[in-house]
């Protein structure tokens, strides 16, 4: 192995050489710098590989030929090697990125940069306190120099503020150091820790520690750091964020060894305040680099928490800290580098990235990595962290972390939304090959560490999952035209179904059919799209991959990962709609919020088991079981859009593209139901403080059904109407599950199937109509029945089925419902459900009447039927609906038997044509035949007596003694249920929306208020620093 001292000697030597070379040899200087950093990276990599292979153990390097305390010693282990690799690679890539700037600035800038990297490496390596001080001061001076690389004039002021702040830090550090030396007689950190002379009470130790923590720029004593992030050259900010912060973290981690871990709570406290505070303040930022600065500070806070919790993390400590650190470093450096190719500084200026899908891919990768989504390292790390925190009852900390993560996701995804949507400025981006190369390298590194962490993870590598790989493979196929990709997507889904068909149990099979056969059916409609439709297929397949994995997940980890994957996929899909940006963000926030609750629930249930099997949910300790149930149930209900957490759904479903809405409504919503089924099968009834939680769910289901139906009745937008109707339908299904009896579950499954068929069909029809008419507002349509007869038939069949009128399949649902409630224990919520039922007629009639009946508008006279590819799946759905109406046993019989093992009472009997329950009977085929015969007989009779009926013109009607002549004034459509609104409209007051809006508003106002704290004055920042030290000390003392 090359000596670790080369990390100090090599850059130092190169820096001096650069100084000695004659002026004007910029190219040579630059190559020399590159070479040095590349060499250092190689050396670091070789160390890391050696450690990883287990060839060598942690090594001490002694200088001056003696041992400490008489000499300075360095130590290199696995973590240090990884840190060094990170530092030097960041340095190398930044130098490549900075090529032009460095050529301009000359050898001195390169030398300073090398010294900077050297000093950071020193911080990572050294075990000597004073040596640490020296390296820190070196980084300070180098930073002071490198800030001037920026073209931004404001950087000068920021640099001075930085120097003022570091003065205070270094005074604190020096005083602490000398007293520590005085007390322990050594400057060696390991010596101090081992000597036991330094106790946790030591003020000197506190001073050193707080100085090092201040190097991490904790919230709120960090105004100076934010100014640097905002004004410095992005390449330098990248180093500062990725490398310098990493080095400081190593220093803090090391120093906490002294005083036998007694300051760990301090690190945790400062960390959690930083993580929450910085993420909160980032909410109201518009400047890209400042927001990245806030995010850096937040991530450092999170890492400080990890360091502070290392006493409970045990063997996972390095895995967790490393995962979060690498995710932060790579993503943040990548984002800073990206910001360097964007011309203007507002978040929306990043729209320039739209110019090339690869930029968007890089951006999405970094954002997903920062948020900690699978398959990136942060995901594995957060999973382990949360589980260990929960296992040690640190729930408050856990919740604070998750809350802040949600804030982080909010501003990051909102940013992503801005970038994807809206008009891009084609001039807004500078494409230099070296810069793009660096960004590409960061993107590759991101996926590389994702693979690496997956390999190291206890739970197995997510990147080995075939569905996920298939979805990612579509990224490589983006150059194909839509028809090819569509055929491929359909065959992939069907193929996966065929391969796995035998392994599904009846319950899974129902969902598998909906996902893997229903999905392709809806995808048929995607054939109408032209061009390449970039981004659609990876997102769709990601969603399907998540769903396919979800239903077969055995462990909570697999389940959660699948859940996150399907969330990401569907988020990208929703975001594709024209005006869907605000809805997509609300979708992802509710989904992630729900996911975090699920995560907490799983963690509580697992009690420290990092690879917890779902089947063990039934054996959770009784003390936590109801809480686990509650958290998981709320998590799942965010996906089924139960009332209270439903506000994301209407917009998301309404604004999505025509072929996306059916997938979201028909398929995606079922993920939540599947989760609930798994949960309730495993955990059964739970009660919390004497309240039966299934009873609460009954109420939620009933209220969702009622309010969803009511709101649907008052919509003018056809797709919003259908979206609200989905809320209601899922409310019924939830209600069925919460009944906790055999037929209730069958009811839920019946709704799963029915809702998939008719809602997909209706969304497709309405989508086709909207495509032709160019509007989704129903009162602007009318009389389309003759122009779009097939769409009309689909909607007609659809609404008959939804309404539950015999002879179609909706009736089966109603029949099972009545049989199921016969044995219900709670009757009050039933009344709500009863009230909800007939309201469905209101919106269903309105849907079909205002679009297809009534008066045809002049501007629609030339319309054609919806595109063939949109009609085809609708007609297949019509056929499915008919078949399912005639022989529901086809799908339900097996499930009915399967459910017997969980609910032995109350199964159905499927003898012959009649389905019999304990209370009643139902014969779908007889009903269909009887109704058909009666109907056809009467129809024949009418044809006979009325065979000469003449078709008359549109305005051949008379009312109020006038003949109307304008369709607009004759089409009774707008505010169709005005009297009903007068009577019951008060129930649809958007209280829930107002509630969530108020929370959002409060958070933003708070952030807006708090950020006034950073008034830009260097002196104020100094006061912050001093106050931070004093207050932290007083609080720490007060607590201990």
């Amino acid at each position: 192995m090359v000596s670790a001292l080369s990390f100090i000697a090599l850059p130092l030597g190169t820096a001096f050489t650069l100084g000695l070379l004659p002026q004007g040899m910029q190219r040579v200087n630059y190559l020399l710098t590159l070479l040095a950093l590349a060499l250092l990276s190689l050396i670091a990599a070789s160390w890391l590989l050696a450690f990883a292979a287990g060839e060598i153990a942690t090594q001490q390097i002694f200088t001056a030929g003696t041992t400490p305390p008489f000499s300075i010693n360095l130590q290199i282990g696995m973590a240090e090697a990884a840190g060094l690799l990170l530092l030097n690679l960041t340095g190398l890539l930044s130098v490549i990125y900075l090529r032009d700037t460095l050529h301009q600035q000359g050898a001195r800038a390169m030398a300073v940069l090398l010294i900077f990297i050297m000093a950071l490496s020193g911080i990572v390596l050294t075990r000597d306190l004073f040596n640490l001080f020296v390296f820190i001061e070196l980084t300070t001076i180098a930073t002071g120099g490198l800030i001037l690389l920026s073209h931004d004039k404001r950087a000068l002021g920021a640099g001075f503020k930085y120097l003022v702040a570091t003065q205070i830090i270094s005074i604190t550090l020096l005083i602490g150091t000398i007293f520590l030396y005085h007390d322990s007689g050594t400057l060696n950190i390991d010596g101090m820790a081992a000597g036991g002379l330094i106790t946790g009470e030591s003020l000197a130790l506190f001073l050193v520690l707080i100085a090092l923590i201040l190097e991490l720029k904790p919230f709120p004593a960090n105004g100076w750091a934010l100014d640097i992030y905002e004004s410095a050259h992005p390449a330098f900010s990248a180093i500062l964020s990725a490398a310098a912060a990493t080095a400081a973290l190593f220093a803090v981690d090391r120093l906490l060894l002294v005083g036998s871990n007694s300051w760990l709570p301090l690190a945790t406290a400062v960390g959690v305040v930083s993580f929450v505070g910085a993420n909160l303040l980032a909410l109201v930022q518009r400047n890209d680099r400042r927001i990245l600065g806030y995010s850096s500070i937040a991530q450092m806070g999170l890492l400080l928490v990890v360091v502070g919790q290392r006493d409970i993390l045990g063997e996972s400590y390095l895995f967790i800290a490393g995962g979060i650190l690498l995710a932060h470093a790579i993503a943040k450096a990548g984002l800073f580098w990206l910001s360097g190719i964007i011309v203007a500084r507002d978040l929306s200026d990043w729209r320039a990235l739209q110019r090339n899908p690869l930029y968007i891919f890089a951006f999405a990768t970094f954002i997903a990595m920062l948020v900690g989504l699978p398959p990136f390292p942060g995901f594995y790390a957060k999973w382990d962290l949360v589980h260990l925190l929960a296992a040690h009852d640190r729930i408050a900390l856990l919740l604070a972390l998750l809350f802040a993560s949600l804030l982080e996701a909010l501003f990051l995804f909102r940013w992503f939304g801005y970038v994807i949507k809206g008009e891009a400025n084609p001039e807004g981006i500078i494409c230099a090959r070296n810069k793009l190369g660096v960004i590409a390298a960061a993107t590759v590194a991101a996926w590389g560490v994702a693979y690496l962490w997956g390999e190291m993870a206890l739970q197995g590598n997510l990147l080995y999952s075939i569905p996920l790989l298939a979805a990612l493979a579509f990224l490589l196929l983006e150059w194909l035209a839509v028809p090819y990709k569509n055929v491929l997507a359909i065959s992939v889904l069907l193929g996966w179904f065929v391969v796995n068909y035998a392994d599904y149990n009846p319950l899974q099979l129902i969902f598998a059919v909906i996902i893997l056969v229903g999905g392709p059916l809806i995808l048929l409609s995607s054939f109408y799209a032209r061009g390449r439709r970039i981004g659609f297929y990876p997102a769709t397949m990601l969603m399907f991959a998540g769903m396919a994995q979800l239903i077969v997940a055995k462990s909570s980890f697999d389940f959660f990962a699948a859940w996150e994957i399907l969330t990401i996929g569907s988020y990208y899909l929703i975001l594709r709609g024209k005006a869907s940006e605000p809805h997509a963000i609300s979708y992802i926030i509710f989904s992630l919020g729900g996911a975090f609750l699920m995560l907490t629930g799983f963690a509580l249930a697992a009690a420290g088991d990092l690879n917890f099997l779902l089947s063990n949910l039934s054996e959770v300790a009784p003390a936590v079981a109801p809480w686990v149930f509650l958290l998981l149930a709320i998590g799942f209900m965010t996906k089924t859009a139960a009332i209270g957490v439903h506000i994301w759904l209407p917009g998301a479903h309404a604004e999505a593209e025509s072929d996306v809405s059916p997938m979201l409504s028909g398929i995606l919503l079922k993920a939540g139901l599947f989760g609930l089924m798994v949960l309730m099968l495993e955990m059964g009834r739970q009660s919390l403080y004497g309240v039966d939680l299934t009873h609460v769910m009954l109420w939620i289901g009933a209220l969702s059904a009622l309010l969803g139906n009511l709101m649907a009745a008052f919509q003018e937008d056809a797709k919003r109407l259908l979206a609200y109707s989905s809320i209601a339908q899922l409310g019924y299904a939830l209600f069925g599950l919460a009944l906790m009896n055999h037929l209730g579950w069958l009811l839920a499954l019946m709704f799963v199937i029915n809702h998939f068929i008719y809602k997909s069909m209706l969304f497709l029809s309405v989508g086709g109509v909207a495509k032709r008419t160019g509007t989704r507002l129903m009162y602007r349509m009318g009389g389309l029945i003759t122009l779009m007869p097939l769409s009309f038939i689909a909607v007609l069949i659809g609404i008959i089925a939804v309404s539950g009128v015999p002879p179609l399949s909706g009736f089966g649902g109603r029949w099972i419902f009545y049989n199921a409630i016969m044995t219900a224990e709670y009757r009050l919520p039933l009344i709500i459900i009863f009230l909800a039922g007939p309201i469905a007629f209101l919106y269903l009639f309105r849907l079909i009447h205002t679009i297809f009946l009534g008066q045809l508008k002049d501007e629609h006279r030339q319309l054609r039927e919806a595109p063939f590819w949109m009609i085809l799946p609708q007609m297949i759905f019509v056929a499915c609906l008919m078949v399912f109406a005639l022989v529901p046993g086809l799908a339900l019989k097996r499930v009915d038997h399967y459910l017997l093992q969980y609910f032995p009472e109350g199964g159905l009997s499927w003898d012959g044509l009649t389905i019999t329950s304990h209370f009643g009977y139902w014969s779908p085929i007889s009903i269909m035949v009887i109704v058909g015969v009666i109907f056809m007989t009467l129809f024949a009779w009418l044809l006979f007596v009325n065979r000469r009926a003449q078709k008359v013109k549109q305005f051949n009607i008379v009312f109020a003694a006038e003949r109307p002549f304008r369709p607009e004034t004759t089409h009774f459509a707008w505010n169709f249920f005005a009297p009903y609104r007068k009577a019951l409209g008060f129930l649809t007051e958007p209280l829930v929306t107002r509630f969530w809006d108020a929370i959002g508003e409060a958070l933003h106002s708070l952030a807006e208020l708090l950020r006034r704290f950073y008034n830009g004055n260097g002196q104020t920042y100094s006061v912050h620093l001093l106050a931070f030290v004093v207050i932290t000390f007083l609080l720490a003392r007060g607590v201990s």
Binding site: F133, I141, G144, G145, F160, I178, Y181
Partner: protein, 118 residues
């Protein structure tokens, strides 16, 4: 003696910090920090001082065998020397900044450099 040095050192630090926080003129701030740095150095020396011992120079006056009992700990002094050098570097950098700030903006009032905030 040592206590006087220590007390003076801390007093200087406080004076320096007070000065840096109350004066908005950049040059005055730099001077104040220099004062504070001097105070820190004084504290360093004061802490390292051991009463009744001699300078850590091994010559005829101090024999090598008895050195450990007779000389004071040389390390703090080495530290002070390093700290002074580093302090000088930082002060020089700050002065450079002050110069550049004055050239670009024509003022040395730190409260005027608040265009980066919030």
């Amino acid at each position: 003696m040592a206590y006087i040095a220590l007390a003076t050192g801390f007093l200087l630090i406080l004076i320096g910090l007070y000065g840096a926080l109350t004066h908005s003129h950049i040059l005055r701030m730099i001077v104040a920090f220099t004062v504070a740095n001097t105070g820190v150095n004084l504290v360093l020396v004061g802490v390292g001082y051991m009463g009744g011992r001699t300078a850590p120079i091994l010559d005829k006056a101090v024999e090598v065998s008895a050195a450990a009992q007779r000389i004071i700990d040389p390390l703090p002094q080495a530290l002070v020397l390093t700290a002074i050098v580093i302090g000088l570097g930082v002060t020089a950098l700050m002065l450079t900044y002050a110069y550049r700030l004055y050239v670009t903006r024509g003022t040395l009032d730190i409260s005027r450099y608040t265009e980066l905030k919030w």
